[in-house]
């Protein structure tokens, strides 16, 4: 009967899993989608993603979602709708999407009073479709011809900053800010104290993202630090970078053989959140290509030159003025190439020093055999 001990008196634990935030980075690169249009047109993909979002929201009552479009000339939020700076100081961004559609010149889709649709789903869908249509409208030919690729790096940073903001809103240690304090104390339940589990899902269609190596890598490391898994569903093209992203952050990497089955891939492989993944065996990229892209021509290289100060990678030794392009320190790669790794002369130097100064140092660690004749 005396089973009172430390274990029983813990705080009432929350029964459910913590709320999870899904941030989808949708690669809307028009060039790449044009290639895919025969198997999976963008509209179908978007419809599938909307169903997936609904499934995610249905999976947990406190689950939230953010959608970011990584377009050819800019990266922007599709949901929550970007709010113009307003007097509303807190987290109202996601609340405002209905009004947002109002002042737009023509509300393309409106939250209809559709009795066949669960209202929260309808609200989000409408916001996404509206913002998406706006984005497509704003894209003109100049934007299209400017680049064949997409601004994935920017989109990823947007996603990370959004996740960070949401996490702060959910975290219990928000005692410094008044607004946040009242938010945390608004309810007596403990559930808001469980922090948010976030993840990023990149729906990628563009190949060749090497020109964004640096921003991507920075984002990946930030995600790694924040323990945000980056999931990749690669519908077309192949990039080393994204594979590395999912590998480094512990996310899922999938390259469906049949893109038209997108929804099933999403539902099975990407719906489980970090909490559920503890009990599941998730697919991951088999062999990850760890090659890096050079900083000068954004080419993926096997062997390159590395700045000794800032570790920037270059594919060829001809640097302007022999200065590192990233940090500006003097870097004469040409000389490194001219002089073949001259081991023998250096060895000799070492030998002399070793023998002359201190014979008791572990001289044996230097190439063996050669030091003994000196003593003898």
């Amino acid at each position: 009967m005396n089973d009172i001990d430390g274990t029983v008196r813990t705080v009432v634990k929350d029964e459910g899993p913590p709320p999870s935030l899904l941030t989808i980075v949708l690669d809307t690169n028009p060039h790449a989608w044009a290639h895919l249009s025969s198997t999976l047109p963008l509209s179908t993909a978007l419809a599938n993603i909307l169903v997936f979002i609904n499934a995610h929201l249905a999976s947990g009552n406190a689950n939230c979602v953010a959608v970011i479009a990584s377009h050819s000339h800019k990266a922007c939020f599709l949901y929550p709708s970007p709010t113009p700076p307003s007097p509303q100081p807190h987290h109202g961004a996601s609340n405002g999407e209905v009004e947002m559609n109002g002042p737009a010149d023509r509300p393309i889709y409106s939250v209809s009073d559709n009795p066949n649709k669960y209202r929260p789903f309808a609200t989000i869908e409408t916001a996404i479709l509206n913002n998406f249509a706006k984005l497509i409208d704003e894209t003109d030919e100049a934007h299209l011809s400017a680049t064949p690729t997409t601004l994935i790096g920017g989109a990823l940073s947007l996603a990370l900053s959004f996740i960070n903001k949401s996490t702060i809103h959910h975290s219990p240690t928000s005692t410094h800010a008044d607004a946040l304090l009242s938010l945390a104390d608004a309810d007596g339940k403990h559930s808001e104290r469980t922090t948010l589990t976030s993840r990023i899902l990149i729906v990628s269609v563009s190949g060749d993202l090497a020109n964004q190596y640096i921003p991507m890598m920075n984002s990946i490391f930030a995600a790694q630090r924040k323990r945000v898994p980056i999931d990749i569903i690669k519908l077309a093209g192949d990039t080393v970078l994204l594979q590395q992203a999912s590998d480094a952050t512990g996310g899922v990497y999938m390259k469906p053989e049949r893109p038209e089955g997108l929804l099933q891939y999403l539902m099975m492989g990407f719906l489980p959140d970090a909490f559920a993944r503890k009990t599941l065996i998730m697919p991951s990229a088999g062999g990850v290509d760890f090659r890096a892209a050079c900083f000068c021509h954004r080419k993926v290289v096997d062997i390159g030159y590395v700045c000794s100060v800032c570790l920037s990678i270059f594919c060829e030794p001809t640097l302007p003025d022999n200065l590192c392009m990233t940090c500006g320190s003097y870097l004469s790669l040409r000389s490194a190439q001219m002089n073949p790794p001259a081991l023998i002369p250096r060895k000799k130097k070492k030998k002399r020093r070793a023998g002359g100064t201190d014979s008791a140092t572990p001289g044996g660690s230097t190439p063996a055999g050669s030091s003994t004749p000196m003593h003898g």
Binding site: M1, I4, R9, V11, V12, D14, E15, G16, P17, P19, V51, N54, A55, L57, A58, S59, G60, N61, A62, C64, H91, S94, N95, E97, V98, D113, N114, P115, N116, K117, Y118, R119, P120, F121, A122, T123, I124, H169, T175, L181, L183, D185, A186, D187, G188, K189, S191, E192, L263, Q264, M267, M268, L271, P272, F275, A276, K278, T279, L280, I281
Partner: protein, 478 residues
Amino acid sequence: MSASSSQALEYLEQLPVQTHRKLYEQPSTVLAIFRCMLPQMAKTIVMAMLYMPTPFPAGGLDAWFRPEATKVKKEALYILEKLHITVLTQDASRQSACSLYSGFAKSLRQALEGSGSHRSFGVPSNKPEPNKVSIQFLDEYAQRQWENILFYMVGSTVGFGSSVGQEVGKGTKSLLEAGDFVRMSHGKMNITRTGFSFVLQDTNAQVWSLLIEYLRHASQLGMSETDVLNFLFMLGSLELGQDYSTDTLSPTQKQMLEDLTAFGIVYRSSKTSSTFYPTRLAVTLTSDSGALSTTTDPLATGGASGPGLRSGRDATATGFIIVETNYRLYAYTSSLLQIAVLSLFTHLTTRFPNLVSGKLTRASISRAVRTGISSDQIISYLSAHCHSQMQKTTPFLPETVTDQIRLWEMEGERVVTSNGYLMKEFPSEKEYRDVVRYAEDVGVLVWKDDANRRFFINGIEQIQGFLKREAEKRKQRG
């Protein structure tokens, strides 16, 4: 799955398969069941199978789960099976496979896609309403109605006189009695053990308890159970502040509206009005009782701002209790209901305009325990309502106090009981061990005695099924 919806789940589980099938015709019901009844892993399994063209082979399902998570998987599959959501089939090569019940899958797809023409998510009234009511009004209305009910239950027990409960309708009163929340004895109404646990729950759980009682009652009144359930689940998916038309409702559901108005779950401007407003009590039926649904999550409330019912109700009360290590208790409240609830287990001594103070004593706690309140209920009530200053420490309540409350309870309760079945006389050690392991996996094992090959379980259906399957297997083999 939240604690509040688990009672609804229990109720659902015991329904027969026909009722389930009938329920699953309604997309809003399916979505609500999916959203708040199923545990996380069950949701994951359902979603994985939802758009799968072929049944999910059992082997594949096993391979999908990590080996150490078998228990979670079994629990999830068990619930799905019990609710008749999944169907186990065997193909020609005797490989068993799992698939979703087609009606469920169809409705869930419709709910996610927003397709079909089932109109199950409520038909908003298009008529311009001259005297449209505000969300704030609805909140106040719901709060008033609900607190009246609670106060009716608690008030007379703690001796606030006979004046309480005049605002509560007759139907509600008889429902409370039928559910054994209160009991009339010698012309005086007394709250029961179930009633206590009812009062100490959070609002959402209270609403569900009352509604489940209502459901049990409903079939006696000749109302169709599925109709009632469908309506309740639909209410949970409506939007606060929007008026909905009553035209598409069935006669049963129209009849329900009146009762629900009495509970404060819906609001109608008059009994003959052709529209109704769901209140916050209704729209949070299928969302977590957790904080996010009312404050930070714009989805659950459909973008409605303003204080939630909880925060509305606790406007004075959000974290209003301070408990010190010397068992003294201070509560910043002037609400009679809260004072009444506190006085159930506290020795209250002083009352100021905005504060009551008192002490948790051995006498007050054992009095509460005698009337049927458990220490866990007291502790969870205190920690759910403790002041923001106290929430800075973990756990919120001083450990000396929580331990002492438990010890006081145990002085009165010297025995722990659990109902169930004793399984014994296993022919072989192996069979015994298999069954015990299964019982442990599904979480029904209470006690076991390996030496004498017997154990005690608190649920027999699964074990029966398991034994039957084992017997069949043996037959096939032998």
